[in-house]
Each structure stands twice: as C-alpha cells, then as structure tokens.
Symmetry: C2
Subunit: 340 residues, 2 copies
C-alpha cells in the first residue's frame, strides 16, 4: 500500500499549486473551468482523498455530530431512538457530516464525555436525547456555546416555547387526539385511556390529547393507570376487567405506549374480548407483530428537522448560533397507523 497522495502530489500532477487544488475542492466556483477539469482529472487519476485530520486542524471543524446512545433498557421502546439515530446518520451523510456516538451512564458522565469531545474538537455539535426536568446537560451546552438541538422538549418550564434552547419533539397530544377521534368514529363513544402516573411530561401531554378529543365529542370514558411494562399493564388491566361491567362498557382503549397497549390487548383477549380496539404509541415492532394500531412518531422526520435546525436548511456545516437570535422549536405531527 503506497503512501496516500496529498494535495501537493495532485498539484504536481496537474501542473498547478496546492492552493488551486484546495480551491477546486472547497470553492470550485473561483477556479477557471479548464483548470478545474485538469485538476479534477489528476484527483481521479491519483484517487486522491483529503486527509480529514489535517483539514480539521486547519479549519477547526470536524464535520462531525455527537449523539448519545442511551443504555439499552431492554424494554419495548428502545427501538424508537435507534430509528432516530439511523435516520440522523443517513441525513447527515447526505450533508457531508459524520455521526459519532458515545455512551454514558449518567448526565454527569455524559457531560464529562462531551467535554472531551468538544474540547478535543472532535465534534462540531451535539444532538441530545431524552431531556428531563432539570437536565444539567442543556445548561452546560448553552454555557459552553456548543451548538446543539435536543430531541424532546425541556419539560417542566411554564412555557416550553420560551425555552432557552432549540428543540424538536413529537406532538404527543396531537397523536392521541387523532387516535381518540378514530376510535370514536369507528368503535363507539366510550373510549378509555390507559396511561402512566402523571409525573412525567410526556404522559401528561399524551393524556391531554385524549381528554380534548373526548370533550370535543361530548363523550366520556374511564382512565386506567400503571407504570410502564407489558407484564404490569397486563396485570393492571386483568384486575380492572375482573369486574365484567368495566369491559362491557368500553368501546376502545387509547394507550400512552405500545407496552401498555400490548398488555391491555392481552388482558382483553384473556377476558374474552380479543377484538377490543386498542391503540398504542410509538409503533414499535411489537405492535406491528400483534396487529395493534399505533401512533407512529416518524423519527425520520424528527431527524430531518434536527439537522435543519443544527445546520440551517441547506448548510453543509454547523453554524455557530449568535446568542441574540432566539432559539427555534419544531413540533412534528405523528400519524396514526390503523391495523386490523
């Protein structure tokens, strides 16, 4: 394997100077067409590829985005983030960006890692996922002036739209609203909701969609609750269904997650109502496998929106945000996937 050719080699072969070769690569517009072609031929002939480390050193840009890979939780919904990461990688690739993943077990450890990556100039920007109330990461990133976008709203503030940083999220309420409307139209007025304890923003948001749609239709329905997990959900609903009237007075059930939906579906089947319409959230493979309707978050759309916010709609590099400009926010509309 011979030594890799450098700009110098290409320049020599094309009979021009280093800088002209560099110009052909980075701003082709300012090079005379015939020269450009000659250089391009030399590049092809030598199979030249720029040494990214050298470019990074000089330009102080890595063309790389850092993404935290959450620890595998073993649950159902891990898939969602993986789809997001995948979509992000594809989009980023199209824009000449690389994606570097890193892992950390806590927010503090993540900040430590980010410090390495940012100060080592290995990444130009960050995509933060799974933001939570009082998340130390966003503040740290803002303070350090690191460009970043979060997938997920900064829950807890009064008015999320006045948040200090840029984010993209899925409109959970819109999703459950659509699901509830669909259930009302096709199954009957007694649409229930199966949710989490109201301590996390996501769950409250999704429940709101159901409430609003029910209120709009002048309908009412029962609300059930459990922590996440198929087994828990199945147990909880089996207990609820131990009173036959509960099941008899239910036309459909909108759930806050696929895990709960699967549990409810199984419990309903156990209780003799396999056909009870159940709608989940996240459209995971499980829902698909069992033929359960679900709300699809379209991580692909989220990824596209994240990149647009990070790089501008057409940019090919991450732009340093001026602190004056107020942060932007995008809410992606999920869509209902109807099954059975």
């Amino acid at each position: 394997m011979a030594k890799a050719p450098t700009v110098e080699d290409v320049a020599l072969a094309a009979g021009v100077s280093r800088q002209t070769v560099s110009n052909v690569l980075n701003s082709p517009g300012i090079v005379r067409p015939e020269t450009r072609e000659r250089v391009q031929r030399a590049i092809d002939a030598l199979a030249y590829r720029p040494h990214m480390a050298a470019r990074r050193l000089r330009t102080r840009r890595s063309s790389t985005i850092g993404v935290h890979l959450d620890p595998y939780s073993g649950g159902i919904s891990g898939v969602l983030l993986d789809r997001f990461v995948h979509a992000l990688t594809e989009r980023a690739g199209e824009r000449g960006m690389r994606v570097l993943i890193y892992s950390a077990r806590s927010a503090e450890e993540e900040i430590e890692r980010l410090g390495d990556l940012v100060d080592g100039a290995e990444i130009d920007g960050v995509v933060v996922t799974g933001t939570f109330f009082g998340d130390p990461r966003t503040g740290w990133l803002l303070e350090r002036g690191v460009p970043f976008v979060s997938f997920g709203r900064p829950w807890g503030g009064d008015d999320v739209y006045r948040s200090a940083h840029t984010w993209v999220d899925v409109d959970g309420a819109a999703g459950t609203r659509a699901a509830t409307r669909h259930a009302l139209a096709t199954a009957g007025p007694r649409v229930g909701f199966f949710g989490w304890p109201p301590d996390a923003g996501t769950g409250v948001d999704r429940e709101r969609g159901w409430r609003e749609a029910m209120a709009d239709a002048g309908a009412t329905g029962p609300r059930f609750e459990t922590v996440d997990g198929v087994a828990d959900a199945r147990r909880a609903m089996t207990e609820a269904f131990s009173d036959p009237a509960v099941l008899r007075n239910l036309d459909a059930l909108v759930c806050v997650s696929d895990a709960l939906a699967v549990g409810a579906h199984l419990a309903a089947a156990d209780a003799g109502r396999r056909e009870l319409p159940v709608i989940g959230f996240d459209n995971t493979p499980v829902a698909e496998a069992l033929g359960i309707s679900s709300i699809e978050q379209s991580p692909e759309l989220v990824a596209a929106a994240v990149l647009d916010l990070l790089m501008g709609p057409t940019g090919r590099a991450i732009e340093q945000r001026d602190a004056a400009r107020s942060p932007e926010h995008v809410l992606v509309e999920p869509r209902l996937i109807v099954r059975e």
Copy 2:
C-alpha cells in the same frame, strides 16, 4: 469563550517543554514523578485537553472505529444489532476508542463510504455486520489492509474456520440444541422445528442444532417452514394446524427466529393451545413481552470479543495485523431464556 490551551501553554505554566507535557500524556513512565505531578497540576489548572485533530495528523491514528448501521428493516430483529452497536460503543469508550457510524444502502455504496473514511484517516478499523455469501466488502478490506472484524461468519465457504479474515459469531446450532434439549426434558419427545427455507447459512445452522439434539434423544418431530415475518408465520402455522392431528402430536416448537415464534404462538393460541411451548431466537422485546422463551445472543459478549480481536486483549489502539498471522475466530455460546 477563551482560546483553548495548548501543550505549549501547559508547558509554560509548568516550567517545562512541550515534549515533556506530551510525555506526561502519552508515556508517563519516562517522566520523573515530581515533574509529572507538576505538569499534571498545570494540566488540571488550565483544563487542558489535547486537540485530537492535531494528534491524528501527527500519529496517523484516529482512535476511531467505523460501524455500518444497517437500514431500519421495520421487522422484529433489528433490535439485536442496535444492542450490539451500543455494547460496542461502551466497550470502545473504556478503551479510549470512539465509534463512528455510517450508513449505506448497498455493499457497493458501503465500500465507497469506507474508502472515504479509510483514506481520509477518519477510522483505524472497521466492524462489519451482516456478512453474506460472496460479500465484496471483506475482500476489499483485506486487499486494502484495513484492520477489521466481522460479526457473522463468512457463510458459503467449505470450512469457515479457514476463512481469510477474523470474525465473531454466535453459535446458532448450540442455541437450538439447548432449546431442543430443554423442550425434550420439560414438554415431551415430539419437538418440532419452524424454520426458513434452507437458503441462508444462519437458518441451516440453527436447524442443525435441533436435528442433532433430536437424534441424540432418539426422538423425531415435524418441520415447518416459512419466510420471515410474524404475519407469514401465523398464516403458515394456522394452515398446518387446520389438521388437528398436527397440533395434537406436537409437544413443543423450536423456532429459527422470534418472529416465527410469535407467529406460531399466536396460531397455536387460535387453535386452542395457548400453552404450547414455543422457543424463539434472538430474545427480542416481543418475545419478552409475550412471555415466549427465546435464545439470547448476548450481543454484549460479541462486542467484547470483537474488540479483543481488533485491539488485542489489552491494547489501547488498533494494531496492524501482520499478514502472516492467521485470522482468528470466536464462537459465542448463546443461552436459553426460559419464560412461563
């Protein structure tokens, strides 16, 4: 945000020279303890972090591993690779390595991408996943002398152990063998197998485990077949069960994948035998959710093995393999997760 400190700044602060600072960082052993401490204090005081691009340029090492992220298939088993990637990232991080992910839609496009990454000195080595018969990538990597390990055997050769490259894989036959033995011991002698058409190595390998275990026990059982997918599997088994004798003469069913297992489980439940023991493969969240036993591949173990082969058991950098040394292979033993 002030300019980031360089080795020079640290050297000045500590009253030593650049190189001594560099030595403290890279080979602390050769620096006198008191000097080392003084330098270390200066490093901490200035919060100095090496500029990785400069280091890369000089050392010609990126300390980065490239991993292809397969397109999201939408099926059940995508999760497996994600777990692997995650485990790899964690392990790599512990060894001072970064993980860069890239995507490509075809093997050819992947080679194109790899060319960029390798020639651009962005990655030191590659982890290839999903190798298939006649895979062009492995040959290309060998030819280019790029260090790499594949997750998955090079199917198709006569003796896979004589393969020209290094790989790690899960011993599928051992998995189904264990599953079959368990079924024989707990359910009865008539253990069936539900597999894919025998065109891919993986499926044949897994089926072999069942055959061997059955032969050892002097038992026989039916074999069913379908392409992958829950819906297909459910349909196929429902049809098979339309003859009641088939279901009556079945004590348990070992399946080549979780998708098939889920389909078979649903079909069995439809036919009135919800309790029919079904064992899947991959231990995906779906199997967990439905309480179906499954064979766990332990992607964490695979990731650890991959890194060991790529970096040596304790190394902190990817070593260039000498062509003389023959490639190594690791077969990871999966384990059966029993449910219900």
